[in-house]
Amino acid sequence: MIDIQNLEFSYSKQTSLLSNLNLQLEAGRIHGLLGKNGEGKSTLLKLISGLVFPKQGEINVMGFKPEKRQPEMLQEIFFLPEELPQLTLSIENYEKVYAPFYPNFNTTQFNDYLKEFEIENKKSLLNKLSHGQKKKVFIAFGLATNTKLLLMDEPTNGLDIPSKGQFRRMVASTLDDSRCLIISTHQVRDLDSLIDSITIMDGHEIVFNEPTENITKKLLFRVADRNEKDESVIYSEDTLRGLYQVCENPTGEESKLDIELLFNAVFTDKKRIMNIFK
């Protein structure tokens, strides 16, 4: 669905933000895009949607060049930015204005999502809603567009605790083999049950891009005793319950993926992780 080759991007001539970035993302998955602040995650989402243009390299999104911003491509992309636009429209009018641009928009779905988020009054003005409520409206709208590609930048920021669970349920229910979701987030605990492919950016490039089933096949996530010493440990974190560890998994032992531990492991010993997944 998305094929990025040798991508270079910078906002100024002096500093390069993304360099020689290669990435392939397939449909039917929820991709978690992770990285430290300023690594270029939001910029990568902007590049994929055609909001900014690469300095060098190629981006192919569903067979389109994003920088051309053709309506055939745009009607199959919904981008939920971290900062939402200020629109002096009611929810009802927002739907009336923007839904016709998306051929697969489903009003019943939209109403159901709003109901699940407990937003009952569609006559409410968007600019009068709190940040969290506004985000819920845009999430509901984005999911109801049924676009093939859904890009979400920090979607759970501003959502209250019950809404995070509702969000996970909604997203999980909309995914099918033809859709691709990319979620850029720092809130990995909110989404670790949802994401099924992890992409990590470091040093302005992709250092890790694997589906979760591959990760748990090759890495073991465990809680170990403090006295236990093991050469297979890649990363270890001391907690009250013991040592949370990421280890090599030569026997293919099953374990539950912990995205935060994986993220820290990648940053602790990038080369070793990269070698394991070669």
Binding site: F53, R69, P71, P85, L87, N93
Partner: protein
């Protein structure tokens, strides 16, 4: 699907504008009708039309001054051409039509009100819409546009297209920066003119009165006639040229 231009999408973009700006528009036109009630002198009404026109045009791409707004706008599934044409139609056909309508309503109400209040018998003046031929530039060279009304339409279109370009060219303060750019442009023209006068006549004056010593009769000068025709053609082409520049600016826009 038509990848270049689709009237359905164009209609949706225009509908979007009206739904998003319904209240502002009602207030705007209401105030203008009131202004024209109080002042419907042709010359000052023309000035109001130009000023309100460029303020309106300068707002059309103002959405780019706020990054999330610009992102939202660029991601609307419509071509750049459709987005541009929607804004051109709003800034020209819609705005010009509405301002003439509000002028006419204001003119009728205002004149009748003055007659009733001050016991006068003024007739409603429709000089604004005069299609009679006129001359300009020292009463020697015919106006590029023929009649004052046609001239007003073309002047209005040129001003609108300049400010429409300014609204997308400058990320913030499009109105002020466009006005400054126009001022800078004309200042540059004056400096070039004075420099040429200095080179050609040895002295210079903004009014060009150092040419008085030359036996110069513009109505007989073929050069001046050619310049008049060139000016006419340029006047007609300037607006579409600026629209084309605006189109490319929109296609290159990154937020």
């Amino acid at each position: 699907m038509n990848t270049t231009f689709n009237f359905n999408r164009l209609g949706l973009l225009i509908k979007r504008y009206f739904i998003e700006n319904k209240n502002k528009e009602l207030m705007y036109w209401g105030i203008l009708t009131l202004v024209f009630c109080l002042n419907h002198q042709t010359d000052s009404a023309r000035m109001i039309i130009y000023i309100m026109g460029f303020i309106f045009a300068a707002k059309l791409f103002k959405i780019f001054s706020y990054t999330p707004g610009g992102m939202h706008y660029l991601l609307i599934p419509a071509t750049h051409l459709e987005k541009l044409v929607a804004n051109i139609l709003l800034s020209t056909v819609y705005f010009f039509g509405m301002i003439l309508l509000t002028f006419s309503i204001g003119n009728i109400i205002g004149t009748n009100l003055i007659n009733a209040l001050f016991n006068q018998t003024n007739s409603i003046s429709w000089d604004m819409f005069s299609l009679s031929q006129t001359v300009s530039i020292g009463n020697n060279i015919p106006s590029a546009f023929g009649s004052p009304f046609i001239g007003m339409i073309f002047t209005f279109f040129i001003i609108q297209s300049v400010f429409l370009l300014g609204s997308i060219y400058f990320k913030r303060g499009g109105l002020g920066r466009t006005m400054l750019s126009i001022f800078g442009f004309f200042l540059l023209l004056v400096i070039i003119e004075l420099f040429m006068f200095k080179v050609m006549f040895g002295s210079f004056s903004v009014t060009g009165n150092m040419m008085a010593s030359f036996n110069f009769t513009p109505e007989n000068s073929p050069t001046i006639k050619i310049i008049g025709h060139v000016f006419k053609v340029m006047s007609y082409l300037l607006t579409p040229f600026l629209w084309v520049v605006t189109y490319f600016r929109l296609t290159e826009k990154q937020v």
